[in-house]
């Protein structure tokens, strides 16, 4: 059995049926990591010893009949902005290069209660600010499908790790598309839940009103199973919503008859890569052929989502990142004259360029005299964008479109023109502003072999509708588009070294 080629659910079943052990899986993953990490750089830290210890403990509890969940014993990777007690949590930044949290995030506690084995922490854009995972202090992650290209961001490490089979699934975080976009660039399934579905306790905050933790998976059933485990109502998070129903795996039926799918005309125009557009329309056709009703419509306000997002996210981030000051934890500059000098030097040395850029912008838009014109204006725009989605969901069950206007750009081409990079978020940011659930599903590759993803957006609390549509698509296409990256030993064997 090629243990690494199994999905998370398949592995979970194999372990339950004693065809494999948790330790076998850990071993296979760690061997794979050794093989491809030098090229991909998905991980910031690996916890080899801890992983084997966890595997042993989990195996014991599975055999004792205490862990009966579908993902017990399955190795997972966690994005490095999610706190795990005693483990280095860097957020891809120098300013937390020595930080070990004294508590574990609720989402990870939920995973552990279900028998997950945490392999390590994945690389990311610094403090989740970026779309390429090139702003990390720990080096760029490469796209496993083509090592000259970016994996996307900010959850680039998590998505690359899943695509390169360096873990069975991963957790990412999404503030403006940070799970969905890298998922589409890496050819994996990624989902951002409705705001408030997964506890934010333990997620280092970037844009508090927009952040959510979500699954990155090999396929849709895995995605649903992970979501089911990590979602919970947490009294430690005041924005946590108590859902009526957490049985997301019930949505895995191959039935989209009568499902009304709307494709925004405003998404499909100028700026969209031709090959991406083609792949999206083809995917829509598949759903139509299986009984869905697909039509185009005007969503409106699409071009205002990005400016509104950047005002709000930067403003919240500028405040959330004030705590990094060298006083209580993290990096402190070596030489300083006095208190304020210590603050300035610590932060200027500890933060990278993109983070500083957004902190400056955020501080500016909140400052005296500008608050009304920028911040309040953005909040009003947010209200209107939510209204536009509400209107759309009166007519449609799912909104379908591309996840990103292009496939993964080459390394080193994005950071010199930040504005252009921001425009790549055009399809994803509005979803965070409105608090809606959305997922990215692989639908093909472009002529350079780079994956393309479609984004499915649902109304609030309608993850099941999304999972149903995605599952239908996956089954109808026999998961043709969900293949792991051709990299490492097997690529060499196939003569396809990149």
């Amino acid at each position: 059995m090629d243990i690494l080629s199994l999905t998370a659910l398949q592995l979970g079943k194999a372990i339950k049926e004693r065809e494999a052990s948790a330790a076998d899986a850990v071993r296979a993953v760690l061997d794979r990591v050794k093989e491809v990490e030098p090229e991909v750089n998905s991980y910031v830290t690996l916890d080899e010893e801890g992983a084997f210890q966890q595997a042993e403990e989990v195996q014991r509890l599975i055999e004792a009949g205490e862990f009966t969940g579908p993902l017990a014993g399955v190795p997972v990777a966690v994005k490095d902005n999610i706190c795990i007690e005693g483990q280095l949590t860097t957020c891809g930044s120098r300013i937390l290069s020595n930080f070990k949290p004294v508590y574990t995030a609720e989402a990870v506690l939920n995973l552990k209660k279900a028998g997950a084995v945490v392999i390590g922490k994945t690389n990311m854009d610094e403090f989740a600010m970026g779309s390429t995972t090139e702003t990390s202090y720990y080096g760029s992650t490469k796209n496993p499908h083509n090592l000259n290209h970016v994996p996307g961001g900010s959850s680039g490490g998590s998505c690359a790790a899943v695509a390169a089979r360096e873990c069975y699934y991963a957790l990412g975080s999404d503030t403006g598309g940070s799970i969905r976009q890298p998922s589409s660039f890496c050819g994996v399934v990624g989902l951002k839940p409705t705001y408030g579905t997964v506890s934010r306790y333990g997620l280092v905050a970037y844009g508090s009103s927009l952040d959510q933790i979500g699954p990155v998976a090999k396929d849709v059933p895995d995605c649903a199973a992970i979501l089911e485990i990590i979602s919970s109502h947490d009294t430690k998070d005041s924005t946590s919503v108590k859902r009526k129903n957490y049985h997301f795996t019930e949505a895995l039926t191959e039935d989209v008859k009568g499902l009304k799918i709307g494709i925004p005309r405003d998404y499909m125009g100028k700026g969209l890569d031709k090959e991406v557009e083609e792949a999206v329309r083809k995917a829509a056709k598949v759903l139509e052929e299986n009984g869905a009703i697909v039509e185009e419509f005007d969503l409106s306000l699409v071009q205002y989502a990005i400016p509104a997002y950047y005002v709000i996210a930067s403003a919240e981030a500028s405040s959330n990142l004030e705590r990094f000051d060298g006083v209580k934890y993290g990096y402190r500059t070596a030489d300083y004259r006095d208190l304020h000098n210590m603050y300035k030097k610590t932060r200027s040395e500890g933060f990278g360029a993109e983070v500083k850029r957004r902190i400056m912008l955020g501080s500016f838009v909140l400052s005296s005299g500008y608050y009304d014109a920028y911040y309040l204006k953005a909040l009003r725009t947010k209200a209107l964008i939510k209204q536009a989605f509400d209107r759309a969901f009166e007519k449609y069950d799912v909104i379908l479109g591309p996840t990103a206007p292009s496939t993964a750009p080459e390394l080193g081409k994005s950071l010199t023109d930040p504005m252009k990079m921001y425009l790549g978020d055009i399809y994803t940011v509005a979803v965070n502003l409105a608090g809606l659930p959305a997922m990215s599903v692989p639908v093909g590759k472009d002529s350079r072999g780079l994956p393309i993803g479609i984004q499915l957006i649902g109304n609030s609390f309608q993850e099941k509708t999304l999972l149903r549509a995605a599952y239908m698509y996956e089954c109808a296409t026999e998961k043709w588009h969900e293949t792991s990256a051709n990299i490492g030993k097997e690529a060499q064997e196939n003569g396809k070294t990149i």
């Binding site: 400016p307 990096y331 304020h340 300035k344 009003r380 725009t381």
Partner: protein, 97 residues
């Protein structure tokens, strides 16, 4: 409408955000901010008259906890990441006032 960001503005924002930029970084910051603000200005095309600014997407209210002590003495854990510790406190440069 083109935004013009002066050195004074960058310095002011630097004080607010406790960031110190080199002269080269300052130039880049001015230019970046100008571009971003020009782009953000497109929001002015949108008529938001009479729209209430929306901070929270869902109408969730009144999330409380009871007034019961649930935390004990976590001192060692809380101090474990201190960049500079003296006895049982965090040490910082002298504060005025």
């Amino acid at each position: 409408m083109k935004n013009k960001i002066t050195d004074e503005v960058i310095d002011y924002v630097g004080i607010l955000a406790k960031l110190e930029l080199s002269p080269a970084e300052k130039e880049a910051a001015k230019s970046d901010m100008e571009k971003m603000l020009d782009y953000i200005d497109t929001l002015n095309e949108l008529d938001t008259e009479g729209i209430t600014p929306m901070s929270h997407v869902f109408p969730v209210n009144n999330v409380f906890r009871e007034d019961i002590v649930t935390n004990g003495n976590n001192r060692e854990a809380i101090l474990s990441n201190a960049p500079l510790r003296k006895d049982d406190s965090f040490e910082v440069p002298k504060t005025i006032g």
